[in-house]
């Protein structure tokens, strides 16, 4: 149980088409992450799956049943929101139990499920508190707990970590990963964050302007992006795109990831001047202004000392260079 099929879902707000025909298949137990730039329709797609928004056309099937006209509470889903969205007037315990109470679950069963969920998320000390008396991280754990007690077929997360600070984000990310392993539930997760997407996902769906650009495992997307957009979106720092007219190539654009460039002081493919160097300890990002290739980012592992103004040569790894055609697709 817990599969999801989306068939040609379109969504328009008035004349503005936000989702332009989405097809997606999620099998039971999978962790799927939606990524894409702001405003591309990730949240809208998630809300359509949840039933909070009606699609203009197309079907949503959960476990093979068409749920297009089923209200959110009956779809067997649970959702965690970016802003926690806890009920301010209820205690943590009642926040978690409300959905079950509405569905008419017996009190002892609610009690049991809250106990398990709060143990899982270390929420026991806070059960009698109200949301206002909790920290941001605790609130988000309550929100996750509220989803867990429903024992849904499908978990939906809409940028659950983006209101948390960096350290807490890592912890909560780990908790979500463990939760997925323990519950073996199907999860759909929306994020802006590369790292979240790469670390959590079984499958990443890259969205852009209401369309799916590519679906694949994190490594598939990293190693063989289907087009320029995906190549630029996955990986950090961003892939370098070089206008090939200057290089005398047949393809429209050449792409090289910063980590697939090597630098040398004496010789190499592209001569350039160091514009800026970022020292991160584990690695160093150099920004090179090259005569032929334009501004390049180079990622060097470990410490590398380069003063701005120095001349360096950058050389791409030919096996890991991507060539894109005029339509943005990868040329084989």
């Amino acid at each position: 149980m817990g599969s999801l099929n989306i068939e040609n879902v379109k969504k328009a707000f008035g004349p503005v088409e936000v989702l332009k025909g989405i097809d997606l298949e999620v099998v039971d137990g999978e962790f799927v992450v939606f990524v894409g730039p702001s405003g591309c329709g990730k949240s809208t797609l998630l809300r359509v799956i949840a039933g909070l928004e009606d699609s203009t056309s197309g079907r949503v099937l959960i476990d093979g049943d068409d749920v297009s006209v089923t209200p959110p509470a009956k779809r067997g889903i649970a959702m965690v929101f970016q802003t926690y969205a806890l009920y301010p007037h209820l205690t943590v315990k009642n926040n978690m139990g409300l959905g079950l109470k509405q569905a008419g679950t017996p009190a002892t069963e609610i009690e049991r499920r809250i106990k398990i969920a709060s143990a899982m998320l270390s929420l026991e000390p806070y059960l009698e508190r109200r949301p206002a008396e909790l920290s941001g991280g605790q609130r988000q754990r309550v929100a996750i707990g509220r989803a867990v007690v429903r024992e849904p077929k499908l978990f939906l997360f809409d940028e659950p970590l983006s209101n948390l600070d960096a350290a807490l984000r890592v912890n909560t990310r780990l908790e979500i990963a463990q939760l997925h392993r323990r519950l073996k539930a199907t999860m759909i997760y929306v994020t802006h964050d590369q790292v979240e997407a790469m670390t959590l996902a079984d499958k990443i769906v890259v969205l852009n302007a209401g369309k799916i650009e590519q679906i694949g495992s994190p490594m598939e997307l990293y190693n063989s992006p289907a087009n320029e957009f995906v190549a630029g979106f996955i990986g950090s720092p961003k892939m370098n795109f070089i206008d090939s007219a200057k290089l005398g190539e047949t393809a429209k654009t050449i792409g090289v990831r910063p980590e697939h460039l090597t630098v040398d002081a004496k010789s190499g493919a592209w001569k350039g001047t160091v514009v800026h160097a970022e020292h991160l300890g584990a690695d160093t990002n150099l920004y090179l202004d090259c005569e032929k290739a334009g501004l390049l980012t180079v990622r060097i592992f470990g410490v590398y000392n380069a003063e701005p103004g120095a001349t360096l040569f950058a050389t791409p790894d030919p096996a890991k260079t991507y060539r894109f055609g005029a339509d943005g697709r990868v040329l084989k």
């Binding site: 809300r47 949840a50 909070l52 209200p71 959110p72 509470a73 009956k74 889903i77 649970a78 959702m79 929101f81 970016q82 802003t83 926690y84 969205a85 806890l86 009920y87 301010p88 007037h89 409300l98 959905g99 509405q102 569905a103 206002a132 509220r146």
Partner: protein, 279 residues
């Protein structure tokens, strides 16, 4: 108090301005209350002095309580004000929720239409309202007043409340929907408590004109049975002789209930503001 943000002259200046304003605002009220405890000669002889043992007199209050059915008038005013307030807040909040929450054809037009009443005084329609009340047999009933005041208060209530309701987090309402709460529960249990401060604001704005109104009670419900306090006080305002003691006493008494309602609502207002700040 930190000295960086509060210099002494500035604090004194601010307080001087506020105290002056308070004095000006309170002056008529204090004058009314003061003089209501004085004899007629005391009122005209020295209107600005507080009652002395010589001028102190409860004649105004005894007249008010003895003559006419003042307790009853009070009751009428209170019933009309509280009932109208209740309906204004209930229907105003519901309309505001619908306008801010649901997307439907003509939403904006509907919002504008409902807000139009802010600019057009309801008294322009007095004749039509009177005809309507006569036709429906509601003349000389409190129901007539309640209906008119509800209509009078709704535009501003809808306008203010829909602005505030737009600010209530969508995620919270959606969380409620996923947990299976009905739209009514979402409205009453999640949204209303969050907009309580703005409800209190609307309540205060709505309540005062209703309590003080003389126009509609005079036209729609002048009977002895349905008189309100403001109308009742006219009893002492004769064409040739005016019983000033009684009028001042009636006015002083009329301040009380509205003051109590105000205190209740302003508490809500302050509680709403501080609870928002801590969260």
């Amino acid at each position: 108090m930190s000295t960086a943000t509060h210099s002494l002259p500035r604090t004194i200046g601010a307080h001087a301005v506020l105290l002056t304003y308070t004095a000006i605002a309170l002056f008529p009220v204090i004058l009314v209350i003061m003089n209501s405890f004085k004899s007629r000669a005391g009122i005209f002889g020295a209107p600005l002095t507080p009652p002395t043992p010589k001028t102190f007199d409860l004649i105004g209050y005894t007249t008010v309580i003895g003559q006419g059915d003042f307790i009853h008038y009070f009751q009428n005013s209170l019933v009309v004000t509280v009932a109208s307030l209740f309906f204004v807040l209930l229907f105003g909040a519901m309309a505001a929720f619908a306008l801010s929450e649901y997307r439907f054809r003509g939403n904006t037009m509907m919002g504008l239409y409902l807000a139009l009443g802010i600019m057009i005084p309801i008294r322009l329609g007095t004749v039509a309202i009177l005809q309507l009340m006569v036709a429906s047999g509601l003349v000389n009933t409190l129901t007539a007043l309640i209906l008119v005041y509800t209509a009078q208060g709704l535009p501003l209530a809808v306008f203010i409340l829909s602005e505030f309701m737009k600010q209530v987090s969508d995620d919270l309402k959606n969380a409620g929907r996923i947990d299976g709460l009905s739209e009514y529960t979402i409205f009453f249990r999640l949204v209303l408590p969050l907009v309580r401060p703005s409800m209190a604001t609307v309540a205060v704005f709505t309540m005062i004109p209703i309590w003080n109104d003389l126009w509609f009670p005079l036209i729609l419900a002048p009977s002895e049975e349905t008189k309100t306090v403001t109308l009742g006080a006219q009893l002492f305002l004769g064409q040739f002789v005016t019983n000033w003691n009684a009028i001042l006493a009636a006015l002083s008494l009329a301040i009380l209930p509205v003051l109590i309602l105000y205190v209740i609502f302003s508490r809500q207002l302050i509680r709403g503001i501080t609870s928002g700040a801590v969260k």
